[in-house]
Amino acid sequence: MKAWIAFWSILAKDMRSYYLKPPNISWGLVFPLAWTGMFFIKTGSGIETIPAVLPGVMAVSVLFGTTSMLAVTVTFEKKGRSFDRLLLAPIPLELLMLAKTAGAIVFGSANAFVPVLLAVCLTDLPAVNWFALVPAVALIAVSSTFLGLFIAVSVSEVFEAQTFSNFFRFPMIFLCGLFFPIDHLPAWLRPLSYALPLTYGADILHASIRGTARLPLALDFAMLAAFCGGLFAISLRNIRRSWIT
């Protein structure tokens, strides 16, 4: 019970201190709009193509919303030594890191639904499978956040966190099947696609919105969950090895 008081307090502080700041809220709104606009301009198509564009914009919004913020905030607090204060608290490291990442998960998930709200206003989305879409967004947010945590634990400077984030993010966007079908990729790149968590998240989003999936949904969910667990476990191990030296 006492540990949960700490959990909620860390989450509330991070939401107030980082995620609910006006620049981040505007980033959360502008970023998906900019991506949507970019696709409309590039393809020259109208609002009838929204269902085709929506999975990609949602996934990118989650990916950037989570990794940018978490990698920076954790690195910032570690460098300023305020993170030591959290490590000194009598709460399990697992719960502490869940508290630190929960804000990014909430922020990233909220980012994903900005383009959905826009799409609902502009067009009909009658075929959307919300029961798959909502958990998929949550799992993409969790896996992306834990990727951000993995990055944050691996670097010591804020600028390194940004650079290292891009090292993962940009290849992931183009290899996960969101904008280019995996079948159209060179054969030697395809195995790499299946080593990325976003590939499975993108497949669920496509299935939920357009009804087309490459893999069974159960497999997609299982792979996403496995990536979440794996990235979190690796991050915890790295924290124990490099921060509690």
Binding site: M1, S17, G80, R81, L87, A89, P90, T245
Partner: protein, 328 residues
């Protein structure tokens, strides 16, 4: 004699090529104010980090209130408060916000942490600034709030790492008084400092740490008794101290004379020194004596004798903020 509350045996830690702490052993008794004194890089902060669970020891054992800290560090962390050598609270939070947040980390409920935070702000003279952001506090205010954050959960044991470094004289005096009050209220305090006079004034027992090794642990009273066995007279003369010192040493038996700068002599002896004959000798040899006084023996003398490290050099090095090892 009260029971041990912190027991450390054979503690060791190496960072790459640097042996930061080597075979350190000591016991701190319940309610004691224990000083850990040493120069920059001696291993004081590394030791605190190992005691509080921020650094993993390479060897040795740590027991806090009967809890094996290497096996169960989180259980021990609930019993201790930690005030690091640099204020590490959240700049974007207010003073009150920082304290309530720190209270929540130790499981204090909303009403309890709010009341405790307000009580501490009042006690530390920070109530008027409680609604201001921490980033805007002066160094002294930051230090006091950091100490308040360390005791928000009323821990029975408090680790204080260099609590008065880098703050003004008035704030340092206030911090020392707060430490003394906490000790008087029964808190066990583990204090690291490089200010020898601070350790002398506050601590009951002191460990001298040099290059990662404890070279001496004794009650302050016992250390001072050793210093009392030496008698020192400081004499201010004109600018020929060196030459006059040599003549003085030849003329009187059982004294050592050291020229301190160009215009001062320190006469040391194992037996009481009479000032009059020294002054007369110097005046007879043409010196103009401006002042001659017996120096009160200090812990600094003992420290210098035991460690061979000049206390003034140690303080200068620290105030420059020079060369710390990894978390040391």
């Amino acid at each position: 004699m009260t029971s041990p509350i912190i027991e450390v045996r054979g503690l060791a830690k190496r960072f790459d090529d640097v042996q930061a702490v080597a075979d350190v052993s000591f016991v701190v008794r319940k309610g004691e104010l224990f000083g850990f004194l040493g120069p920059n890089g001696a291993g004081k902060t590394t030791t605190i980090n190992m005691l509080t669970g921020l650094t993993r020891p390479d060897a040795g054992s740590i027991t806090i209130a009967g809890i094996d800290c290497r096996k169960n560090p989180k259980a021990a962390q609930g019993l201790v408060g930690v005030v690091p050598d640099e204020s590490n609270l959240y700049g974007e939070l207010t003073g009150l916000g920082n304290l309530t947040f720190c209270g929540s980390l130790y499981g204090l409920g909303r009403a309890e942490r709010q009341a405790r935070a307000e009580e501490l702000l009042d006690r530390f003279g920070l109530a008027p600034a409680g609604g201001r952001k921490f980033a805007g506090y002066s160094k002294g205010m930051k230090r006091k709030l950091t100490i308040a954050a360390g005791i928000i959960h009323s821990p029975p044991i408090l680790f204080l790492d260099e609590p008065t470094t880098g703050i003004d004289v008035a704030s340092a005096r206030q911090v020392r008084q707060l430490v003394a009050d906490l000790h008087a209220a029964g808190t066990t305090i583990f204090l690291t400092t490089h200010y020898i006079e601070e350790a002398e004034r506050l601590c009951e027992r002191i460990a001298f740490l040099v290059e990662g090794r404890v070279v001496r642990i004794d009650p302050v009273d016992e250390l001072m008794r050793q210093a009392d066995r030496r008698h020192v007279v400081a004499i201010h003369v004109d600018a020929r101290a060196g030459r006059l010192g040599d003549e003085l040493a030849r003329a009187f038996e059982d004294i050592d004379v050291e020229a301190v700068g160009d215009e001062s002599l320190h006469v040391t002896s194992s037996s009481p020194v009479r000032v009059g004959p020294l002054v007369r000798f110097l005046e007879d040899h043409g010196a103009e004596v401006a002042e001659a006084r017996k120096l009160r023996p200090s812990l600094e003398d003992v420290f210098v004798r035991i460690t061979g490290i000049e206390a003034a050099a140690m303080k200068r090095e620290k105030d420059k903020g020079g060369g710390k090892g990894p978390r040391a």
